[in-house]
Amino acid sequence: MIIDVNAFLGHYPFRQLRNNSAAAFVAHLDRNGIDRAVVSSLHAVFYRDAHRGNEELFAETRAHASRLIPVATVNPKYVGWERDLAECVEQWKMKVVTLLPEHHGYSLADAQGRAALAKIAEYGLPVLLTQRLEDRRQRHAFDRAEDLQLNAVLEAAQAYPRLKFMLVNWAGLDGKRLVDAGIKGRCLIDLARLQVVFRKDVPKLIETLGVEAIAFGSHAPFDYIGGSLVKLANIETLRPADYEAIAWRNAARFLDLP
């Protein structure tokens, strides 16, 4: 069993993506031997009203509920976001909420960011923070979102000591700084942009945060799934139980999946 915790559905305005509808993505998961995926809406990133993207995502994933786990997107700068989040969580039972401060024009430390983090913490759900959507090389001139900075995450972790963090598509994570910020035991980090073989990012994070902090993720459909599968297969000295933990058990536990 493998659960991919870093995936998207929908169109990206600056690059053609493949396998980005629910049906096509499920077929793509099948071709790659992936059982389930945590999917966010790209439309919710770029629509003026993010919640329209949530509605689409909910409608599209309903027919694939055993395979696709939808993520609620919140833009705390848009009027009525609390009501929209309530619909995602209370009616549609979404299990994780993503914030995109670099795309929606706020910071995790300002009034909007703090309000959103506090509300997510109140629901007891994890916040999913993607460091970047697109490779910075050869980006479209209008594609200007900066990478989310680790300092902002560490400050949020200290300000909200019960909030759980899913950090996906991150590179350059320093395990010691994460531990010092008190995030150990309440974070899940995917391996999509981490190296296993040369730079040993994943073994180092396991050393500092424990194997329970690592999960399989691909960043599909931006990236191909094969790279992450190779990483999973190459995590050295991994006991079978640890392999299972990274492949799916950590994600299932963290998101309280049935």
């Binding site: 493949r18 790659n32 190296q195 296993v196 073989v197 040369f198 191909y224 799934i225 094969g226 790279g227 992450s228 599968l229 190779v230 990483k231 190459n234």
Partner: protein
């Protein structure tokens, strides 16, 4: 002989395109120090296992063999 190497080709479907346009015997494997990504890229490309084996090692082995012959 002109060959392309897999690290400089951004995605699996682009590798497939190289194979279609140039022939799989002209595609060489390389990592540019991102081992998993480049192995995964070749594994994710829509190729036969024979084509993958050629790209992973046989094509370059043939070049070496020609030089030592």
């Amino acid at each position: 002989m002109i060959a392309v190497e897999a690290a400089s080709v951004p995605r699996p479907h682009a590798i497939k395109r190289c194979v279609r346009e140039l022939g799989h015997e002209r595609v060489l494997f390389a990592t540019d120090a991102t081992m998993e990504g480049c192995v995964g890229k070749v594994l994710s490309a829509d190729l036969t296992s024979e084509q993958r084996e050629d790209i992973f090692w046989r094509n370059f082995q043939r070049i070496l063999d020609r030089r030592t012959a």
